[in-house]
Symmetry: C2
Subunit: 456 residues, 2 copies
């Protein structure tokens, strides 16, 4: 039986009250103007607001105290109804979300009462927050006192997803899987990256979902955050697609697949692909309650390092190479991150969400990019996304060459020039029994390649 | 021969210098955060900046003085190159745009010198503007002194498009036409509005363009600014699609077509469609230099009123009905607007762009929504978009019923209940000879219906 929105939200605020009994005010924010105010980007509320409000309510504020929810927002204006049609009233919305009280925004007056909040990055809303609470609200990563206590309670709540959140992530994952299938089917030499991206995002739009983050669809997979889609696919290229949808309720999915444009890996591509896939599978197999996520990261690093030694790209003893961060030459990022209302969940709060109390981000090459260092708990959802990349900014760096010149077999590496970047990423829910791959029905590449060759 | 970007930009700043010889500083702005700073909406620079900079440069400032261009922006950080790959340096960009000088942002220091600017709506950038210019910059519609002089010069320049701008609008129009064709082809009873929107926006994404504004794809065309896509198309419905792409250089197109889901209008739909089409065609035929755009608006109003009297929906004398704004009961918006870097070009400046000096927006029903009241000049690009709508907020309003109850034949209107909303919109360039419809190759609906019935 699926819980109603009212029930889900009520449970969330009751759980908040146990951890944070004081009053909190959360702002939803506004759609940012796309050059002029009447033409905006799509509205996306603050994730903290959305966690308790459940609905995409623009320019609204909720007050939470002892499990009670008060909604502050204005009714649609007659102008807005004239141009935008019939819209739910404040009372309709209050009923839908199960609010205890609902008032116009004008009832929210500036106060000296010490009320906790979380700063938004949208400056207009931030200024309103400071105005109503009559103080300079620190950025979330600098919060102190009640604000910090609220943030810590939010992290406690949002780290482990409830049934409502998991249902939303499943919906995002389902559409993302279809998007990747559409991308694989659309792939053909002579098309552009943009055309494959279009095929993938069209699936989201058709389901009234949106990309959860800027899609990466590139034959230059070594550019980790590539938002250029202008290249033409060539036979022999690998296409890396890191594309995930956001559900109607605002939850993210995050999937990466890397497939050969021709439908067939070259022998060198196959070798590296199998290695990344082995790391991916082994890491997913480790996901379970109480497992340290950092150990999963090191598992990926170990498998990749061992494989690269066997292939002959890295030279030396695996343990020594790992101790010297040599794996980060080809796998410079972390093995994944929290997933929830944000694709990097709660990254607005800084490392206080991703890192357990008392832990700090390392400064080591590679490890310094690990976004999550906590013991896993049921309800957490994480990505597992090992990769292999030849990043010119790393490999051509004189300091890299001085430090690692001796452990890289440059001649051997040269033979793998058709492997610019490979990443395989899935979304994994920690369950009390172990783990469930939420993005599971999407075949890993090998199956798909077989299927692709069947396409006439 | 196509002019180079350098030549286009140089001509623009030389023309600015003739109208505004003093120093101006224009900011590009930043991509707004989508809940957390590392996850942003796509970046769209301020249109005023873009007009002189030509490129989508985030967090950049240009200084314009006597035809000279100085660029202030930072080189990509090593962090940014690590994750985002090789990127052009400040000097590369300065060369591409033909800047006379280029400095890092740090060279821009707060000054008491009286320098003109135009405020952005992005608060973060706005605060920077105020900081550097050491004053509270008024919103564009409240500007005075040098700021106002700069705004007036910008309007003079941007009202009439140069070759570069027209080329960009053509590119946006071409992709928008393909998007509408894809939408018509995808239309089928049982699909959702979202699926048709997906087919249309996929065309833009595939061409590395973006929607210039939030697409309207709806079977409830009477909701003028409808951004809901959840309904299922039924045989007998009309689908209204107001969908336009933005070119890579940031110029907008804006097209509306209304077509029957079944491929065949009902007799009532056909009757109203033909009326709106007649207004559309007659208005486009009027577009020429020195013609008052307001007269085109009244032409649309007159044709629609006359037609509605003939059909029997309105009762009375056409001139009296127009004098009493009765046409606005069914055609409540203006016949169109300026088109350029913004879909409602320069609407950030308020009516000072749309309304000729000395003219003010009327408070009359219908006419009060006219966005443009100027004599047309070669180079101007305007939309022509008459429509017919049954808006409940208008027709059910007691005041409407009191004022207009006698001129509406409610029984006759009842027979047209399958015509919720029809709009036909094209983009028209004023030329020295008359006009050119930039969105012309897209057939008006009748041709398409014939084509649709041919689809097996
Ligand atoms: Mn990820
Ligand atoms: Mn328009």
């Amino acid at each position: 039986m699926t819980l109603s929105l009212q029930t889900i939200l009520k449970q969330r605020r009751q759980r908040l009250a146990e951890k944070f009994p004081d009053k909190a005010l959360l702002w939803s924010g506004r759609a940012p103007a796309r050059n002029f105010p009447a033409n905006t980007f799509p509205f996306r509320p603050s994730s903290h607001f959305l966690y308790f409000a459940g609905l995409f309510l623009e320019n609204a504020v909720i007050e939470l105290e002892q499990g009670k929810l008060t909604l502050f927002m204005d009714n649609p204006s007659s102008e807005s109804i004239l141009w935008g049609g019939e819209q739910p009233s404040r009372d309709d919305i209050a009923t839908e979300m199960g609010a205890d009280r609902a008032y116009p925004l004008a009832e929210l007056s500036p106060t000296n009462e010490e009320i906790a909040t979380i700063a938004l990055f949208d400056s207009t809303t931030y200024q309103e927050q400071c105005h109503y609470l009559q103080r300079t609200i620190p950025q979330p990563s600098q919060a102190t006192g009640k604000d910090l206590a609220l943030i810590e309670a939010m992290i406690d709540l949002r780290l482990c997803h409830d049934e409502g959140a998991i249902g939303e992530i499943r919906q995002a994952a389902e559409v993302s899987i279809q998007a990747h299938q559409a991308g694989m089917e659309a792939t053909q030499a002579g098309k552009t990256e943009a055309e494959i991206r279009a095929a993938m995002e069209a699936v989201m739009i058709a389901h009234n979902q949106t990309p959860a983050y800027g899609s990466i669809v590139t034959i230059h997979g070594n550019v980790l955050h590539n938002h250029d889609y202008s290249h033409t696919l060539q036979e022999g290229d690998l296409l890396l697609a890191d594309v995930g949808a956001e559900s109607k309720g605002g939850y993210a999915s995050d999937i990466t697949r890397t497939w050969p444009v021709s439908g067939q890996f070259s022998p060198t591509q196959q070798e590296i692909y199998d290695l990344v896939l082995a790391a991916h599978d082994a890491c997913i197999a480790m996901v379970a309650p109480d497992v340290e996520y950092k150990d999963i990261h090191w598992q990926a690093a170990r498998i990749i390092t061992k494989g690269l030694v066997e292939i002959g790209i890295l030279k030396g003893n695996v343990s020594d190479l790992l101790a010297n961060d040599a794996h980060a030459l080809f796998f410079p990022h972390g093995v994944g991150h929290l997933l929830g209302l944000d694709v990097h969940d709660m990254e607005d709060l800084g490392d206080v969400a991703g890192y357990a109390p008392g832990r700090q981000r390392s400064e080591r090459f590679g490890l310094g990019n690990l976004r999550l260092d906590r013991a896993l708990k049921p309800g957490m959802t994480v990505t597992i996304e090992p990769g292999f990349y030849q990043v010119p900014a790393i490999l051509n760096d004189p300091q890299t060459q001085e430090t690692y010149g001796d452990v890289i077999n440059w001649e051997r590496l040269q033979q793998f020039s058709d492997v610019r970047g490979i990443r395989i990423e899935d979304d994994v829910l920690v369950t009390s029994e172990g783990a469930e791959v939420l993005t599971a029905p999407l075949p890993c590449q090998r199956d798909k390649i077989e299927a692709m060759t069947l396409i006439p």
